[in-house]
Amino acid sequence: MHKNEKIGYDRREFLKGGTAIAGATAAGVLLPAGIARAQQAKLKIGMMLPATGTFAPLGLAITNGFKLAVAERGGKLGGREIEYFTVDDESNPAKAPENVNKLVQRDKVDVVIGTVHSGVVMGMAKVLRESGTLWINPNGGAGAMTGAMCSPNFFRTSFSNWQTTYALGKVLKAKGHKNAVFITWKYAGGEEMMQGFKEGFEKEGGKLTKELYLPFPQVEFQALLTEIASIRPDAVVAFFAGGGQVKFLKDYQAAGLKGKIPLYGSGFLTEDLEASGDAAEGVETTLHYGDGLDTKKNNAFRLAYAKAFKLQPDVYAVQGYDAGQLLAAGLDAVKGNVGNKSAMIKAMESAKIDSPRGPWTLSKSHNPVQDMYLRKVVGKENKVQGVAWKALADPALGCKA
């Protein structure tokens, strides 16, 4: 595996090979004495997350989740104290390479954790593939990260966009829906989710009658809702996030479609039940997590999180928490010696993460292989109805690893 990759995991191998990337400063760390010192030194973790703008709350949830995982290990990972470096990525892809460079080159972090926005993830991928820095992505679902761009140092603890809708095909089939309409924003994330649903649904013999797109990030859904009414599909599948999700649910209800044409979606559609009010009631979604998942691990996690941060955790907090767990698994295996990257990656690859969402493992492209739950909004809660797809793995198209 990863044979063809140019990027080495072991820095000593690196130097022997005479590869140019390692700079003069890095060389000092690589001497035997340097390694000893490095184990003493604090582990440098770079958090590249949105601190401003629409996605700021997601950034916060991820940070909290990550820190909870660290706190559960006595504030240390692999026996090492931690020093955090943070960069606000502003959810601006144009600045992404530069921002991640701050962590990699300026702060010389051992691990990068980030981020929410898919476009920013794409920008990070470019830089981190070249630098070979260990990267754990706790959210952004861009398929390419664990697809065409995949790399041994890339890990994701969240989902690929494809995963969040693929299982819906089976769900719709089981409900007897023969055709459906997919509605989302015209942007890469939306299109990937549409693709995932289409594949899953067509495999079950269903027909995706129409793909409806709204220019990003507009929230005037009226025209498309009218179009849906005139098409009269058996079901509607939607993906919207941020300000869009709440408005979509409300407009769907106000247009009188709710109750007439059943609404499904990737779980993000119903992640803000407080603001959505009763417009979300009864909507069924698939996601790798549900607040009400009644397992020991989840209950313990929710309690600890609420205690520590005076907030209810959400799926983003879980993903951040698991990023901490995954990193811990790697560091434990090498006893905190991040220099031994190949061993660390090996350990992370084979880790079985005991997550609040249920146990999961990594695919060979380093994306979670996880259960997708079918959830239904009841009251203010995403009630888990069952597992829609057991151990769903992203097809990782284009990953040559």
Partner: protein, 288 residues
């Protein structure tokens, strides 16, 4: 698309247009009368929406929230005019762009500090919380109709204010000749303060009344800003009539664009704007 749905889409387009008018009207006034290019107009829209949310969760009524918030925004507008904008009337548009760009950042951060970064829903007033069935599976929310009504009233009110009242006469005179108005003994400074406060109150009011439909969320201002600029420029700067015509035009173009040519829906309004300006560089109702 059968004929009934065509009619419904027409209605959708017109109502979306009216909604746009609500936000754009304040912008065009400040633009046209004071010659101020206000990029922060969208921020006032956002402030209005957040005020509606926070005050309505405090009082439990959107109507009460709006009644409380309007004076607040008027005061905000007057204060900002005195403190900041007054210094820029004689200067190039460039500095107005600069100042108001800075203002966007400041408002966005203050919003984050005061209200946080979460998305919030605002309840539709119970009285208007119903839908009118249009077809067997589609109905129209009464609240949308109510907003359209408010927009029309507002348009009529603005028209009356500017064309028929003494204040409107002074405003019009002030827009065309500052010195003349001053020589007539009218306090032009006061007029500008009033117009600016009116413009801001209109933007904020649009945010408030639209909050139940759009929900409130960070950066909601910049989403609406650009499209409103397009409205104002197509309609002709300073023309309330033009803003109305352009709003409806854009409402229809976007509505039918999304349904008929979804591939290029995102650029349709900008193409429209470019075409209009190449044909009539001063906008549809602009003074040439």
């Amino acid at each position: 698309m059968d004929f009934a749905f065509f009619l419904i889409q027409l209605l959708n387009g017109l109502q979306y247009g009216l909604l746009l008018f609500l936000v754009a009207s304040g912008l065009t006034l400040v633009f046209g009368i004071m010659g101020i290019i206000n990029l922060a107009h969208g921020s006032f829209y956002m402030v209005g929406a957040y005020l509606a949310w926070s005050l309505s969760s405090l009082t439990g009524s959107l109507t009460a929230a709006i009644l409380l918030a309007i004076p607040l925004t008027v005061i905000l507008g007057m204060g900002l005019e005195r403190l900041l904008f007054r210094h820029l009337y004689q200067r190039d548009h460039l500095y107005q762009v600069l100042l108001t760009y800075g203002l966007i950042l400041v408002f966005e951060e203050l919003r984050s500090l005061i209200w946080g970064d979460d998305v919030h829903g605002v309840a539709v007033p119970a009285l208007l919380n119903a839908s009118i069935p249009l077809t067997d599976n589609l109905s129209y929310p009464v609240y949308r109709l109510a907003i359209s009504g408010v927009c029309l009233l507002l348009a009529a009110g603005l028209y009356f204010l500017i064309q028929k009242t003494r204040l409107g006469m002074m405003i019009r005179a002030g827009a065309s000749n500052r010195e003349m108005v001053q020589s007539l003994g009218i306090d032009i400074k006061l007029i500008y303060t009033l117009v600016f406060a009116l413009g801001i109150a209109l933007a904020a009011f649009a945010g408030m009344i639209n909050a139940p439909l759009s929900s409130v969320f960070p950066n909601m201002g910049s989403q609406v800003l650009i499209i409103c600029f397009v409205v104002v420029v197509i309609g002709g700067i300073g023309s309330v009539k033009g803003a109305m015509a352009a709003s409806l035009m854009i409402g229809l173009a976007e509505t039918f664009g999304q349904v008929l040519v979804p591939e290029v829906a995102g650029m349709i309004v900008y193409v429209l704007m470019a075409v209009v300006l190449v044909w009539r560089p001063e906008g549809l109702f602009g003074r040439g």
